[in-house]
Amino acid sequence: MKFAYFPGCKIPFELKEYGDSFEAIMKKLEVRLIDLPFNCCGYPSKNKNLEISVLSSIRNLALAEQQGLDLITPCKCCYGQFKHAIYFWNNRTDLRIKINKTLKNEGLSWKGETQIKHLLSFLYNDFGLLKLKHKITKPFSNEKIVVQYGCHALRPFSITGFDDPFAPKIFEALVNIIGLKNLEWSKSTECCGNPIYETNKKLSLKMLGSKLKTASETGAAYICNACTHCQIQYNFMVMEQELKKFQITPVLFTQILGKAMGLTKNELGIINTDLFNF
């Protein structure tokens, strides 16, 4: 299998370990990732100007289409943004015409063939659980974990079509097959608060706090993320005194999956050594 790899803006520097571990497991799963000269997915611009955000997305899709590739991203915000962009591109004629024109000046065009996959939906739907199960060489021994569904992949279902928006199960299924014990968590599908971290830090961290509180009350040791922004947000807990006290660690799905597939800690870019007592 072969995909155009869209890391998004945050992975290359802010969250390198996610990129590394993602590439590592994809290598292990014999999925080839192609790097293209992508720009921002447009997610940050959607608050400023619809046209910009849609153009940004479609431009990336056009680049992928040129290579005849589908696009895979580990970031749920990018994923959601792409889906939304496609929706607007399909349904707002005036916008589509404008954007196609701009793309043309760039020597690009998009016919709408490119598909967008998120890491999770790819593993669950395209790669297949059974096939993945065979790749698991060192399954975990029922460590307790809760999963954080990112909003932008999950909602609105009508646009993303990712999973049942109220009772999703893709993520649980995936952590279960690598031997972790997924616990019920009431705030599993709620927002982590990252989108307004830049503008309204107080509120953003308040949300994070309530999530961490409920999560740690479930008795789980880890919060599992499959979204760049969620993980970044959870990493902020080390910066705030009153958040540090919660005995729960945010982990990246790619890292635990990688471990279960027997990859080394360097391959997965894990700095914090006591994570799963590596």
């Binding site: 520097f13 802010e14 720009n39 940004s56 431009r59 916008l95 932008h152 927002c191 910066m239």
Partner: protein, 537 residues
């Protein structure tokens, strides 16, 4: 007199250096040095980048080669040629500018620099990937042209000396006991034949005369005047100059050229701290810094950051890879792109008068940055650009240029309501529009069940700070108060988590409307800011 000029030039450039240094200090009082960490310095990247230009190598092989040619060649010329009185003649007692290997090497170095500079020029003029198409001009040709002209003048000078009769006569007087007579003629013949010298009077060449000339040459000249062929460039230029030679010799153009050449050298010395050439000194400084995450940025020392501005050679690689390039395509705000931001930033630092509109553009441009670190990764000068953008934001907000969220947050909702655009006073909601917020059909089916409000995490966690609930925002729209709605905290705090939209039993696109309102709010805020600033100037 030449020495005087030299001393003046050097002192000028020294003053320049000092001036720059202090301006860095001055403009960065705001940074508290306590947070400074030694571990934020990286010796490795420092040495690698400043000596081998590794980052440049990553950025582009050919460009790296060109740069290497220029650097090595120019370095050689400066040390062994410009400063020969204190270097070469001191190290090698047989040194003469006209003996090999020096003569040969000089030409070689010259040609290196020449090729390099031409390469630079071509790239700047023809090979900008995305940007060229959009006629974005890059400054900084000055230094390249300067160097180029120095080298050319050098070659010319040499060539003219070669053909020059007066120079020949001076040498004869100085280094030989040949006086007027046949010997001189023989030597002239030999030189005309082998050294491309050109003489006024017609000389008829015979083997005997040549033989004698050769002998004389071996007696007097050969020790300090290697055969001309090693000066392979000048020689060919000299050949080309045969025709106008008489005129040239008569007017002693060689002296003129000498002064030109010398003057240009002085010029380079003076302009050093102010031209792009400054990067020679600052790239090491820039590469000394580790790239830090946004959260640790206060651990860096401000003046190093802003000093690194001058390590920029304005090569434009950053803008080629910039993540928010599409934003520029729409907003047409050049200050979205790194290479332009650096220039404006410099202006800002030099406390040169910048009119507020430009600063506003800079702010809105810089606001687009997603901190994807691509520019920093590619920057050949090893500048931590991303770090600079954060500083830029701080400085601008200190000057009162905030992002729209802060702008609207600082206004009370009443104030904001007063700033409604005229046309919204009586809203007749007819006519087609793709804007959800303008089209009653997109929200009039609301049955007031408050589910959207109840599932909203912002309302849940922000009971005191929040003003209206999602459903009340919809009601504001229905009551024809769109502008008011664009200013509500609800709209600006919305996480776009889409819970409301997913849950609405009437299928109203609540979150999409929120986002749209935020867009409209941004538009209005931008307009207002612009008004204020244009008023200000």
């Amino acid at each position: 007199m030449i020495i005087k000029a030299l001393t003046i030039a050097i002192s000028l450039s020294l003053i320049g250096f000092l001036y720059q240094f202090f301006s860095f200090i001055k403009t960065n009082k705001t940074f508290d040095k306590k947070k400074w960490r030694m571990k934020n310095l990286s010796i490795k990247s420092f040495s690698l980048n400043s000596i081998l230009q590794t980052k440049l190598f990553k950025a582009g092989k050919i460009r790296w080669l060109m740069h290497l040619l220029v650097a090595s060649g120019f370095l050689y010329l400066v040390i062994f040629h410009a400063l020969d009185d204190v270097t070469s003649s001191y190290w090698f007692q047989y040194y003469q500018p006209t003996v090999d290997p020096f003569q040969f090497l000089r030409n070689l170095a010259g040609i290196f620099v020449l090729i390099g500079c031409v390469g630079f020029l071509c790239r700047r003029l023809f090979f900008f990937k995305k940007l060229k198409k959009r006629k974005i001009q890059f400054k900084g040709l000055f230094s390249i042209l300067l160097i180029l002209s120095i080298i050319l003048s050098g070659f010319l000078l040499e060539a003219v000396k070669i053909i020059s009769e007066p120079v020949f006569m001076e040498m004869v007087e100085e280094y030989s006991d040949i006086d007027e007579g046949t010997d001189l003629v023989d030597l002239k013949i030999y030189w005309e034949k082998n050294y491309n010298a050109v003489f006024n009077e017609p000389l008829l060449i015979t083997p005997e005369k040549l033989a004698i000339g050769k002998e004389l040459n071996e007696n007097f000249c050969i020790d300090c005047h290697s055969p001309i062929k090693s000066a392979f460039i000048s020689k060919s230029i000299a050949k080309a100059l045969k025709k106008p030679s008489i005129w040239l010799n008569y007017h002693r153009i060689d002296n003129l050229l000498y002064y030109v050449h010398y003057f240009l050298c002085l010029l380079i010395i003076v302009s050093l701290p102010f031209s792009r050439l400054f990067h020679i000194f600052l790239i090491p400084v820039a590469s000394l810094e580790k790239n830090l995450k946004k959260e640790q940025l206060d651990q860096t020392l401000g003046y190093i950051n802003t000093a690194t501005l001058y390590a920029c050679t304005n090569c434009g690689f950053c803008s080629d890879v910039c993540s928010v390039f599409p934003n520029f395509l729409i907003t047409k705000n050049i200050n979205t792109l790194p290479h332009a931001k650096i220039e404006s930033f410099k202006k800002l630092m030099n406390s040169a008068p910048v009119e507020s509109k430009a600063l506003y553009m800079l702010q809105s441009g810089n606001g687009e940055c997603t901190y994807c670190h691509k520019c920093t990764d590619i920057c050949p000068s090893g500048i931590d650009l991303q770090n600079l953008w954060v500083l830029l934001n701080q400085k601008l907000s200190l000057k009162g240029y905030q992002d729209n969220y802060t702008f609207i947050n600082n206004l009370s909702l009443e104030k904001w309501a007063k700033l409604a655009p005229e046309k919204e006073k009586t809203s007749s909601t007819q006519g087609k529009t793709t804007q959800l917020a303008d089209n009653v059909d997109s929200f009039e089916n609301c049955i007031q069940c408050t589910i959207c409000t109840n599932v909203c995490p912002v309302v849940e966690h922000d009971i005191d700070g929040n003003d209206y609930t999602p459903q009340q925002v919809l009601n504001l729209l229905r009551l024809g108060k769109k502008h008011l709605a664009t200013g509500t905290r609800m709209v600006w705090n919305c996480l776009t988590c889409f819970s409301c939209q997913e849950s609405c039993p009437q299928g109203i696109k609540v979150a999409d409307i929120m986002i749209e309102l935020r867009n409209n709010g941004n538009l209005r805020a931008d307009a207002l800011k612009l008004e204020n600033f244009t008023k200000a100037t």
